[in-house]
């Protein structure tokens, strides 16, 4: 066996395992003084990891382990986006991890997060359904531990239980679907399976089951019921990780599998996605209007954003792929900025996360308020922020393939979503409050992460080079 090709193509995963082991060892070996620099150490390590892997090394695709693992440059791009998201989450996690009841297990936090990231990396690079499933599970199981990380807090433990039960159910369905696929085609390799599919009833059922498994990860309606409770109960940092990184990986994986494997059954999955998109966007938007807890609010917002991401998937074109990745990147910085602010306010005000607590926040914490506002504007798709561009591009991608009515429904929904985003803006800027959240100075690490996100929100849209860079590598049907 040629080991050099393993190192040459799997460099991201190998480096990530290296980072995880280094963090684990540091946690074990570092003394009392060394632990002070634990956060710093981890972030620098992540930064080095990102710097080393951000640009794909190979222009073409390559296989390892006989096609179980498939390297493609576009997957490399997605992996670096996920890694950047993880780094930002780490930066935001610091003040939470320094709290007395969590500080002794911060090593676990880093390692568990890194192993979910590793699982996602394997999932998006897999060329075989078994590999895909293992990657998905590697991403799910540690995630449940992360959700229940504040285990002495009732909510967190409950959220963890909810997450793991729904995740296992979804995985079970997916595995069932995969077994149908194996039964009808006799193979689990993506490449061999694609021509063998002919769209018979069993295969359609299999595809629906497979889609359910991923739909759960992406939290699309009707697989979204766990989302709001889990988002609310999980520690805010974990929620932000769950809402962006995990979702982004699953969305990309879904597009790859649908386009690569189910290319023969395109009309079936387009119809399926059509229904799911309309439901996700509309239902989530209507629910979001009534939310008072900002974490629940962002949970529903992220469900509707997932619906928008699916607009790029439904197009199935290379351009759609580019706009998917770009959308995910933009959504990531905006959502992380919003969660970063929520987390900072929560840490500094004894856990205030309700919209009413944010009344008059501008008077006491203007900078955080502005960042939150710009993040929400970006999520709502207001120019000149990046969200406007990414929304325009996915609309164009779906429109190009003739989904005019679908784009129209999505556009009407952007107006509804603007309404509830503006409700938060209204609370912060306009509604008076006698006892607003007191002024505080958040820690440097959170500030750094918010500056990164803010730069992303402003620059990603206006500088076209990022979109062009992604466009170089993307592919489709």
């Amino acid at each position: 066996m040629d080991y050099s090709s393993i190192f040459s193509y799997m460099y991201t995963e190998i480096a990530l395992v290296g980072v995880a082991i280094a963090v684990l060892l540091y946690d074990l070996l570092a003394g009392e003084r060394g632990r002070k620099f634990f956060h710093c150490f981890t972030c620098i390590l992540m930064l080095l990891f990102i710097a080393g892997t951000v640009v794909p090394y190979h222009q073409g695709t390559g296989e390892v382990f006989g096609g179980m693992y498939v390297y493609s440059p576009v997957a490399g791009i997605v992996k670096s986006i996920l890694a950047i998201g993880t780094l930002i989450v780490f930066l935001q996690a610091d003040s939470w991890l320094r709290r007395e009841d969590t500080t002794f297990k911060r090593g676990e936090f880093y390692v568990l997060t890194l192993s979910t990231l590793l699982g996602m990396d394997f999932m998006i690079s897999s060329g075989h359904f078994m590999m895909f499933f293992i990657g998905l599970e590697l991403a799910s199981v540690p995630m449940a531990c992360l959700v229940a990380f504040d285990k002495y807090r009732h909510n967190s433990a409950e959220a963890g239980a909810k997450y793991i039960l729904s995740a296992l159910f979804a995985s079970g369905l997916m595995l069932y679907g995969i077994s149908f696929l194996y039964g009808t085609t006799g193979t689990l390799y993506f490449e061999d399976m694609a021509p063998a599919l002919d769209g018979n009833a069993l295969q359609i059922l299999a595809m629906a089951f497979f889609f359910t498994g991923l739909g759960f990860k992406i939290s699309l309606v009707p697989f979204h019921l766990w989302t709001a409770d889990t988002y609310e109960g999980a520690p805010t940092t974990v929620t932000s990780y769950l809402s962006v990184v995990s979702k982004a990986a699953a969305a990309f994986a879904l597009m790859v599998v649908l386009v690569k494997v189910f290319a023969q059954m395109v009309e079936y999955w387009q119809l399926m996605l059509y229904i799911v998109i309309v439901l996700s966007i509309t239902v989530a938007n209507l629910f979001a209007i009534r939310q008072k807890n900002l974490k629940r609010f962002l949970a529903f917002s992220s469900i509707s954003q997932a619906g928008y991401i699916m607009l790029a998937v439904i197009s199935g074109t290379p351009y759609g792929m580019t706009s998917l990745i770009f959308y995910v990147l933009v959504y990531m910085v905006a959502n992380l900025a919003a969660f970063g602010v929520i987390s900072a306010v929560e840490q500094n005000s004894d856990g205030k996360v309700c919209m009413d607590d944010y009344n008059g926040l501008y008077r006491t914490n203007p900078k955080l308020t502005v960042i939150m506002t710009l993040a929400l504007f970006s999520l709502a798709g207001i120019p000149p922020f990046a969200g406007f561009f990414s929304k325009f591009f996915i609309f164009a991608a779906a429109f190009e393939q003739g989904f005019h009515v679908l784009v129209f429904i999505a556009l009407i929904n952007t107006v509804i979503s603007l309404y509830y985003y503006l409700l938060v803006v209204k609370a912060m800027f306009i509604t008076p409050n006698d006892s607003p959240v007191a002024n505080f100075r958040s820690d440097n690490s959170t500030r750094l992460s918010l500056i990164l996100c803010l730069a992303g929100i402003i620059v990603l849209g206006l500088a076209s080079c990022i979109f062009d860079g992604i466009n170089l590598y993307s592919f489709g049907m």
């Binding site: 504007f377 120019p383 406007f388 325009f392 556009l411 503006l422 803006v425 209204k426 800027f429 062009d468």
Partner: protein, 494 residues
């Protein structure tokens, strides 16, 4: 760098300046410098433009410039102006300049107010210089969103309700515009986003035009106060702070008319011709309904807001007549209405700042107390009802002249109906002037009030000079406009 790109760039620099300034003096210094620079630049632009035309440059868009932006969608940052956009840029510059002075006494959160105000100006100027569909739409939305906070934070009355209503209705309109833009882009073969190039290609299939024309026309029509999508306008204008009402009624509503003309009519000519009757009926309703509504209002701002619905309806009415005279009249009306409505809102703001009421039942005999403001108010009113010598006359005369040129029964009838608005306008304007300015002052508290200060006088005088200038010397402007509406009209008629 092209001179046109300076127009959105200067407000951006002003925002930077505001960000670092520490007290009100510095903020005022930044605003006055920037606004004067913009006004000077706009006047220079008119001179340059007229000079280039006099040199015999016949291209549709002058001073063009473009950079490739997003290659996969053929999106470019491309700018260029014709007579219509030059006129609109001049209008915007005048209103930004006077709006700055009209909000001189702003006390709460001055810095934030002007920051959003400048962002609004970036959007407005950017919209008028763009010839690329995407860039144009982007600037359009940039101009809309600051309104929410400007009204919500600094407004009066039911400000939260009005701000939300305005933002959502306009954003609903812009959702329609977005899908219409995609429809035009892909309908024209997905090769270019440039407006003049798409018009030259002239290849959008007619059945697609029939879908996208109403979509885009309504989309922009929402901002142009097209009946029945005008309901945001009275609430929004009544709640907004003075400078924002000025900029919004004066300039932003013109974005709607400009967009209808430049995008809906220009790029989808066959459908425009086929479906124009629906919108002619709607705009006629706007014109008459707006005027009648103004008659029964008791709040000064509501009166002016409904009057704006009526006058902006006339703009859309005129462009749908599809001849050069009426279209020229439409652009003149945009200019004239922009100037006089800004003047109105400025004066209302000044009166309200003193009397703390806008209810006409509580105001009377102001002429003796604040003669300067009252005389200006009379001038604004006379311009509004179309007195010869002021801008309103020129614009409305041209519009009705042009509309009457279309010689079939339907157009004749709606023209006659729309003409009645002139009379109704006279009713509510004269009633208003008689009620609040003349007679004896019944409220003793009002007797102690003072007349306009220097900053207010400056703002008002600049606007009056512009209104009278346009009314007395309309030809240079109408010539400049009519040669620019020609390509659009001929695109529709061929």
């Amino acid at each position: 760098m092209n001179i046109l790109s300076l127009f959105p760039a200067i407000p951006l620099l002003m925002m930077l300046g505001l960000w670092v300034s520490r007290n009100t003096r510095q903020i005022h210094a930044v605003m006055v410098t920037g606004a004067s620079l913009l006004l000077g630049l706009a006047i220079a632009l008119v001179a340059i433009y007229l000079g280039m035309r006099a040199d015999g440059q016949t291209a549709e868009m002058l001073l063009t410039d473009s950079f490739s932006w997003y290659k996969p969608l053929n999106i470019e940052y491309s700018v260029g102006v014709d007579g219509i956009s030059v006129a609109m840029i001049l209008l915007s510059a005048i209103i930004v300049f006077t709006g700055t002075f009209a909000s001189w006494k702003m006390e709460t959160d001055v810095k934030e107010f002007f920051l959003w105000f400048c962002l609004l100006s970036v959007g407005v100027f950017g919209f008028f210089i763009s010839v690329d569909l995407f860039t144009m739409f982007m600037f359009y939305e940039v101009a809309l969103i600051p309104m929410y906070l400007l009204i919500g934070v600094w407004g009066t009355g039911r400000k939260e309700y009005s701000a939300m209503k305005l933002t959502l209705m306009l954003m609903g309109g812009s959702a329609l515009i977005l899908i219409g833009i995609l429809g035009i882009y892909f309908g024209a073969g997905a090769t270019t986003m440039d407006i003049t190039e798409i018009a030259a290609l002239h290849n959008i299939p007619e059945n697609m035009q029939r879908i996208w024309f109403p979509v885009i026309f309504i989309g922009f029509g929402v901002l142009g106060a097209l009946f029945p999508f005008h309901t945001w306008s009275p609430d929004g204008h009544a709640s907004a702070p003075t400078a924002v009402s000025m900029l919004h009624a004066g300039v932003l509503m013109k974005l709607g008319g400009y967009g209808c003309f430049r995008i809906a009519m220009y790029l989808l000519p066959e459908a425009a011709q086929e479906l124009s009757w629906i919108f002619i009926i709607l705009t006629t309703i706007s014109v008459v309904y707006g005027a009648f509504s103004a008659c029964v209002q008791t709040d000064l701002k509501y009166i002016n807001a409904y009057s704006s619905v009526s006058h902006c309806g006339l703009v859309l009415f005129a462009i749908l007549m599809m001849n050069t005279t009426a279209a020229t009249g439409a652009v003149l009306q945009m200019l004239s209405h922009g100037l006089m409505t800004a003047l109105f809102f400025a004066l209302i703001g000044m009166i309200y700042g003193r009397t703390h009421t806008r209810d006409i039942r509580e105001l009377s005999g102001l002429m003796k107390i604040m003669p300067f403001l009252s005389v200006c108010y009379v001038i604004a009113g006379l311009a509004n009802l179309g007195l010869p010598g002021l801008s309103g006359f020129v614009a409305e005369m041209t519009i009705f002249n042009g509309a009457f040129m279309v010689d079939d029964t339907f157009h004749r009838v709606v023209t006659v109906i729309a003409c009645t608005s002139i009379v109704i306008t006279a009713v509510y304007i004269l009633r208003l002037i008689g009620k609040i300015l003349y007679g004896t002052c019944e409220n003793p508290a009002h007797l102690k009030l003072t007349d306009a200060t220097w900053d207010e006088r400056l703002a008002v005088i600049v606007l009056i000079v512009a209104v009278a200038g346009l009314g007395l010397f309309p030809l240079w402007m109408s010539d400049m406009i009519s040669e620019s509406v020609l390509p659009v009209i001929s695109n529709i008629l061929n």
